[in-house]
Symmetry: C2
Subunit: 707 residues, 2 copies
């Protein structure tokens, strides 16, 4: 019989098993020493401040929850000012507070929209107000009827030449703005996206600054209908945010509140394009998508940390008059968990690389060099799609990997899943993005014969002739350790899938019709391309110098696990395109199994390297000290539901059932039927009832009460 | 521009497209006319009763939520009595009330445990009390430290020969009972599973009836510590249930409260086996697993109904000066949604077949025929595992298929996912079950040469010699319409995977070590076997007479979609084992696409055939009339959060930020940093700030307020 009061034992022993320098890995995970120190300091700052407690979040009713979030946002802002935090520090502080709030939209969408789409004059007028938070803004684009198809937005902005104003109006129910965060209750202003109408003509969708609420009493201004859209998935989670609904009843704004950096409307109502290239918008898009990919690695690593630690604490089966086996020692657990651990590292590495890509794109844009934009766009769109979908699925998989206790809110995983999953939908629907990638892939394939060589993440396509013929050279399991073997297999798979799609597409006289018909296959080709990008960036990273004893070896093992588990999961692709043979797949599977064994002693240290505080993880199962069971037990008793031994409603609704007098036969015949799972062997039940009715035991109802 | 006020249009037109007799399909889905009528009547009874309203469930705080559930349970019981409902009707009523409650455990676990494991005398004493609900019981098996490994339970029941009592005790923290439903607040009694100890010896785990609470004041009895384990995943969902924690401090019970049908303890403390065969326990297990498989088809069909209807309502992209394209017309949507629709039908069909299997097993047990038990056990264990895992993933996929609005609680899908997902963990952890199936598969393979032919769902293994050599005969896409072609491919895949596992296992000198090492591959072989069972039962169904014009054609299309989408998803298996060639996989993919087109006009009618009321679906997106947008809008305003235009906390925590005076430079330099997504182009921000500080605009703070 185990003594589990000191759960802490397990993880201390586990930590001793590490075969690499954990501190060096912490620096690698954070990016560099500087970033590590800032993150570490800010995490501890938040964790040690009682104002930022979050363990009761899942219990709070909506109004209380929201008020609490406002309190924390206010407190965070005070701390930032008091401590004179830099931009980077403040950003990290907000991240560790770990609660969606209106400030995310004010700083993350409203301000950048004005900076990116406002003229210099408009920026001079509005930015100081926004920076001082004399106004609070949000980004009102999505409507009830339109999300992905931005050009289909229905809100109108009609120029009135008599008053030099735009009239903002919601002509239909489906034109109601719906979803924007910070909109429902807090924002005083919004950048509103609407169809520009002048002189009876339409000019596409543009942004307009609109005041929504009075700066005196915070009530909606005339013509403005605004409110919250209701409860969302999960306990706590995104319910801390006031996602809003917004309708305009002919609301008038000065003409100069149209954001006019790219397109202007003159006093006469003429529409004039500025000489600012439209491509500049890509800079913002690349930036935002880089942050989303990086954020995926953060969410995924959180989930993996919890599941890995708990898998080492939890023991079940396998004892022979001694301790049972740690769940993390089962190959079934490793084969599900370790690929997710590897993926967390893979996504961190590709997220870091995307920072470089963003800087590269920005420099080129400043030099009016748009040549790499299509590839950068495809790359970031695809990676946004891939990393968010994989991470969402992985968080839920981590929750399931925690068995029964993963279902408790105190595991931290239900809320993490619910708060993360919208990433698959915002900033681009994931399927729509992959189809955009597919278009660029098809275009690249079509240009292969032209002498125009593909660049960047598409570069391998230029080697299509070789890759369409290449044979995988793996003869034994260890051959799959060779990154060149892995890379070639992934490149060959991607080229062959894209070329096959292109061939099938060419059968259609109407290419658009073909694209629609074959869209599922095109998505498959895009996924292959995106997975290749991640694998290749991981392999590239491993070619660099990496400090810390044993660190590179661990990353090599994780890289192998990442690539080979994808190979196993998508084996149909690799085999049907002839990239590898079944025997080689079997060898890869053998190597994968041995890589699991290699990682096993290092698993706890590999998640320690994320350097997450217990506060940030918000999980009893994922505690650093592994002291799970006493804390689970403690948490249960903290729940207000346990304040009374007899629950509300008992006397009204249950006691009458227990104390019901009357026709005994009727009672138990009828009551026996009251079940969502019918009583088994009902035939013998009837027999028993008849026998019992004649039993002396039932003559004395009072004697039946057992005290 | 669309007029979406009358969303109802879309579904009326959709319903006209159906190419089959929907009423006949409704009967088929329900099982037969009798079951259809009962379900229909009970669903409407519940839907029309305001006491059973559930649209505010996700907003309620825990105590209120729980009280509300007690109210509904009480009301349901009253209605059952008032209407004199039969067992079947009452069971359906409870199902449509759609809210986990203590009664599920009382009738579904407590009563069957007494019936299944109590002696006749014990049943005569306890069942009348339970039927009359003079006592309310639950099933206290799972502990904090032990779920799957029932033999590892730590609660002890030690016989005291002096007092003729058992002493029930929780010796460690991890021995605390944890999870049982109905335990935390309501149950007065429990069947408690504990290690039997007599005379210093252990005799395994057995069941004991223990009173937990006073029947007078409902307070826990001396030595009993009992309470709720805290919040669980999801809004509403399983938080309507009081899953409990329970500890015993040397609680004494009479000896005759040990359930002694299979094993007795005499007055002297001797342990005596009765002559009741242990195998009888399998009857209960098969029954419970059949209900779980059937329930999977119910939950999945609910989710698919919502996603399918909404996919026909939602339009995005594709317009050319007219209406945009319905999302359901996109092949990317069809390729994700239609396999789930097909799976719902497949699981309903296999769930119906399992009812036959249960009756067969029961008859054989009564005749002391245990020959089919291993196969029946493997079959139900595997199908429990497969159907629950697939359904859980599918419900979340359906939610994602509803795009942004799927994230609202009013879509019904968040709660459906959260309340369903424990099915993957209770009544057997899904991975553990698949490993049990694998053991039986390996045993069957090892016996192949012996002349002992496998039976039932293992029968195909007896044809291993042929299936190991068979070549798929498909030459054109339509060949995949032939059920024999499909069945042979699935049988060949399963045999080859099991045989390959057996071969690999034989390399290990220690078979147990081999089993552990190869457990991930063994799970794959089990999945292949279980998927084959579902496919073969679907194909068997289609060989029977099926009434209703066009009904069989639709089911044939769905059967094809079910099988071929599995083939595509697991293509690696089929190719690596050589069951099919890549060209044949491509043909299958082509046919799958054409089957999507075939099902498309029938999709709405196929989900109408589930005959779910809007009340039961609990989804604005899945409304029968398709009137989504007006109702989404309406629902938002019903939320109490919108009662006040200015939210609680605004004056305390936000207004001070808006009205803050003081050092303007400090404000906007610092505030600019307060963001989770750093302001883009910070360099130019600094420049702007410096410029602005010299701007005349900032001399007049008051002028900056915009009214």
């Amino acid at each position: 019989m185990e003594d589990l009061e000191g759960g802490v034992d397990y993880l201390a022993d586990e930590r001793k098993k590490a075969q690499f320098d954990v501190n060096a890995m912490k620096i690698l995970w954070a990016g560099n020493q500087h970033r590590f120190q800032i993150a570490d300091r800010m995490a501890r700052l938040v964790a040690s401040d009682p104002e930022f407690k979050k363990d009761d979040r899942v219990r709070l009713e909506r109004k209380e929850l929201f008020k609490n979030t406002l309190r924390k946002a206010n407190h965070a802002w005070k701390r930032i000012i008091e401590l004179k935090l830099t931009e980077e520090e403040a950003s990290q502080l907000r991240f560790f507070v770990d609660e969606p709030a209106y400030t995310d939209l004010h700083w993350g969408m409203f301000v950048p929209a004005i900076k990116g789409q406002g003229t210099e004059e408009q920026q001079r007028k509005w930015l100081p107000l926004a920076y001082r938070m004399q106004i609070i803004g949000c980004y009102a684009q999505t409507e009830l009827g339109h999300g992905s198809n931005v050009q289909g937005l229905e809100t109108t902005a009609t120029f009135d030449p008599e008053t030099d104003e735009f009239v903002i109006h919601s002509p239909t129910l489906t034109s109601s703005k719906w979803w924007p965060g910070g909109l429902g209750k807090i924002s005083t202003h919004a950048v509103v996206y609407a169809r520009l109408m002048t002189d009876g003509k339409e000019h596409g969708v543009h942004g307009f600054i609109v005041q929504l609420r009075s700066l005196e009493d915070h009530l909606p201004l005339p013509g403005i209908t605004v409110g919250d859209i209701g409860m969302k998935f999960g306990n706590g989670a995104y319910n801390t945010m006031d996602n809003g609904v917004l309708r305009f009843d002919k609301v008038r704004i000065p003409r100069d509140q149209m954001l006019m950096r790219v397109l202007q409307v003159t006093r006469e109502g003429d529409v004039v394009k500025s000489d600012v290239p439209r491509q500049l918008i890509y800079g913002t898009m690349v930036y935002v998508r880089q942050t989303i990919v990086y954020d995926a690695s953060r969410a995924l690593s959180k989930a993996v940390c919890i599941a890995t630690r708990y898998s080492a604490v939890r023991r079940q089966f396998g004892s022979e008059n001694g301790r049972e086996t740690q769940v993390i020692d089962y190959k079934t657990q490793q084969s599900r968990l370790f690929p997710l651990l590897a993926t967390a590292y893979a996504f961190r590495i590709v997220g870091d690389w995307l920072k470089w890509l963003y800087n590269d794109v920005t420099e080129r844009l400043q030099a009016n060099d748009f040549s790499t934009l299509p590839e950068a766009h495809a790359c970031t769109a695809g990676l946004k799609s891939l990393t968010t979908s994989v991470t969402a699925d992985a968080i839920e998989e981590c929750r399931k990997l925690c068995g029964g206790h993963g279902y408790l809110c105190s595991s931290g995983l239900p809320e993490l899943f619910a708060v993360y999953v919208p990433a698959c939908t915002y900033e681009g629907d994931n399927v729509v993005l992959l189809l955009q990638v597919a278009r660029i892939l098809m275009k690249t394939v079509s240009q292969l014969g032209s002498g125009k060589l593909p660049v960047g993440t598409m570069e391998y396509m230029g080697r299509a002739e070789h890759l369409l013929q290449s044979q995988c050279s793996a003869q034994k399991a260890e051959d799959w350790l060779n990154p060149d073997v892995v890379l070639e297999a992934f490149e060959a798979r991607s080229v062959r899938m894209s070329v096959a799609c292109a061939k099938n597409l060419s059968q259609y006289s109407n290419p658009e019709e073909g694209f629609l018909e074959l869209s599922a296959d095109l998505v498959g080709a895009s996924v292959a391309h995106c997975q290749l990008i991640v694998v290749s960036k991981f392999i590239e990273k491993l070619k660099q110098d990496i400090t810390g004893e044993g660190v590179k070896e661990q990353l090599q093992a994780l890289c192998g696990i990442y690539a080979l588990s994808i190979l196993g999961k998508h084996l149909g692709d690799f085999l049907s395109t002839g990239c590898i043979k079944p025997k080689q797949a079997s060898l890869a599977n053998d190597l994968l199994r041995s890589l699991f064994s290699k990682v096993r002693p290092n698993a706890i240290a590999l998640v320690d390297a994320f350097n997450y505080t217990d506060h940030f993880l918000g999980s009893v199962l994922g505690r650093y000290d592994g002291n799970v069971y006493p804390k689970l037990y403690e948490e249960a008793w903290k729940d207000p539901f346990n304040e009374s031994a007899v629950p509300e409603g008992f006397h009204e609704y249950v006691r009458p059932i227990l104390k019901r007098q009357g026709n005994a036969m009727l009672h138990y015949v009828v009551a026996a039927f009251y079940s969502s799972q019918p009583v088994i062997e009902l035939a013998s039940l009837y027999t028993t009832i008849i026998e019992q009715h004649q039993s002396p035991l039932l003559q004395d109802d009072e004697q039946c009460s057992l005290g």
